[in-house]
Symmetry: C4
Subunit: 230 residues, 4 copies
């Protein structure tokens, strides 16, 4: 078994993560209006939303990958290739997020809700969402799925290959992490299926998860400040 250095895999992965996470910032553009800047900026909401979602998901993949490599002492040609495969799917996240966000903000038509009861309204909205959002939501979900599956494969491979981990304790820790991550894979598959029937739910699921990821540290800070002051 040949071994490859850990440092270069980390540095390369960090470079790719850094580029991918900032990619969508290039899409933010200056509105060429000289009055009423705020409404013009708000019209770009789908671009901002895509940036936040993409930043949050790429960020969480980066944290997971850092947690894994923290337990390793060396890499193999195979772990290098699995990481490349994982990074390939990560590098598509800005694109698939933009796709989903674009179709969310450009509904094909706004129906006439006049005289409808609540159930018919929900059904109508869902029918429109299904025709317009199923494809982008599924593409987005598949991208997340492939990212998670390759990440899981990196963990499994590290657990099975002798001499890759720093210690026996690290093996147990990584096994626990890998089992937990498998639940994540199952949740993504569930959301994928849900996206076929109720695409709006799937979209909002992704949005809420990503915003929660962002807000969590802020909530922690607020809590601590409160505890400290009381």
């Amino acid at each position: 078994m040949d071994f490859l250095p850990k440092g270069r895999l980390d540095a390369f992965a960090d470079g790719v993560f850094a580029i991918v996470i900032t990619l969508l910032v290039l899409d933010l553009s200056i509105p060429q209006v000289f009055e009423n800047l705020m409404p013009a900026l708000f019209q770009q909401w789908s671009v901002f939303l895509a940036y936040i979602i993409s930043f949050a998901f790429v960020g969480s993949v980066w944290i997971t990958h850092s947690s894994i490599t923290a337990l390793m002492k060396q890499e193999t040609p195979r772990s290098y290739r699995l990481t490349l495969l994982m990074l390939f799917f990560v590098s598509l996240i800005p694109f698939t997020t933009k796709l989903m966000s674009f179709y969310l903000s450009h509904p094909p038509m706004i129906p006439d809700f006049h005289g409808m009861d609540l159930l018919s309204m929900v059904e109508t909205v869902n029918a429109i969402a299904r025709s317009a959002l199923t494809a982008p939501v599924t593409i987005y979900g598949l991208d997340l799925l492939f990212t998670s599956v390759t990440m899981n494969a990196i963990m499994k491979s590290a657990i099975r290959t002798p001499d890759m981990l720093i210690s026996e304790a690290a093996k147990n820790e990584l096994s626990a992490l890998q089992r937990r991550q498998q639940y994540g894979v199952i949740i993504i598959i569930g959301t994928l299926i849900c996206g076929f029937i109720l695409p709006m739910i799937a979209v909002f699921g992704y949005i809420i998860v990503s915003i929660l990821f962002f807000i969590t540290p802020t909530i922690h800070i607020a809590k601590e400040t409160l505890r400290k002051n009381s």
Copy 2:
């Protein structure tokens, strides 16, 4: 308490800083004129100005972040997430700077100053600046504020979490840095409020601070050269 490696957070942050600091260089374009290149280049002054301001502020955030992590020996999942949040606001600096610089160089109208006394002129300029610049200056200021506040949260979190810092001396040093940085937060809040009433003052405040940041090392060199030669 789980710990995460310091090296990857540094490498990722350095990658994001490097990308963000060079982003606005993409906006410099070749004027398609074959005579009088210099005036055509000077017409792009707002793009150059945005690049200098953005470079200076991102650079100073990078130095601050380096000073902080120099005192740490390891990181936590929480410090990873706080750093991601901070980098999110940093990654918006080129955009918010461009927004401010664009509206500074595209005033909505040039009034007729003929026959005005000085006070009326100042008032007229400020009224125009207020209508055109208040929104972009406030967005820019909020971005700086969120960057500073999350940076402060990173420091506070490192001070409170046991075993994150390299030594007890580092704790005192970081506490001093954090208190000093809190004054920075207060100054940004002050400039933000000032931006509502006198937006021109706020804008020039930001420009002067960023240019000072750039010129300081040059002044040091000049001084040393003088001292050496005398």
Copy 3:
């Protein structure tokens, strides 16, 4: 003989590799259609194909380079310059791949195959491919060739320069790697010549090799899962 640090060469190379490998993701664009998203996405197949091929080849160059520097303990000004030269050719891979993929997806004309026998059809297709693809396939092949030749020169230089490698064993390992890599150079030269006579074969050769590179880890995983379950 002056020596230069290994760390900076690795970090810089990883940065360039990370940028180059993600370059073509910028070419993926959102189709501006509100119905039938899937066919609109499939029309972009040449862009996706270019991204996959480019990602796979840059990835494999990165793995080779990591394998080489893993055996070194320090660098010289000359190895720095050879690495720069190699990275120059690597940085052109996204462009040359795009060029090949573009002309593959935009054949100059679709002939009337009506009433042709099989041999004439093959000959006609090849004649068209030759006129349209020979130039881009040759440019692509030359880029791969120069990348391989400079990589080989980096290995040779490291073998000959005293005190660059970590041990005598590393010298033998690198010599073996260098000889194996020379066969790669010969294969590329062969494909280059083939590209003049049968450009379609050369193109599909490149595509198959790059897709194989990507699929290999997945096949490994599938095999392991089967072995584990049986």
Copy 4:
């Protein structure tokens, strides 16, 4: 005197160098022609030339910077700022190179040389070059000058500040490097002045130097191969 870690300065600088060196690859575009690809590619020669010159100069600055930091053991807030200032001028190299290359390939008018003697022809060409090239060549030269001067300031500062270098021997080595680099500064100033009178000479000076930088390792290899085979 506060010290800052060397690792982060190196990583950040390497990130910026990696981005800046690959920036102009974004300017290479696929010619949208379906016949005669080669002439269409050759029409872009000024873009390719700008890429090669820019790659070569940024590469040589990177090697110089690596040679300097190889002699240091720690950094100061001041060396961080000087490095930022140097990287600012480096980040403008792709733009200033493109500017020079664009005006070189777009002469304002081609005069009628019919019936002119040699001296008049040279004078006419120089007069045209002066009107079209003086501004871009001077801007390019100033960018190189500021890069060299800030690089020199980094070296001087490291020599004077106690405890920044790894050893006393490193101090002598860096002093020698700094003196040699001062000659480079003088040569750039000379070329700058020459650019006012004979801009064509200055342009070709820059092009030859940058191409030599690229070809040198290849010549070394050829020489070695010859020596080995004879």
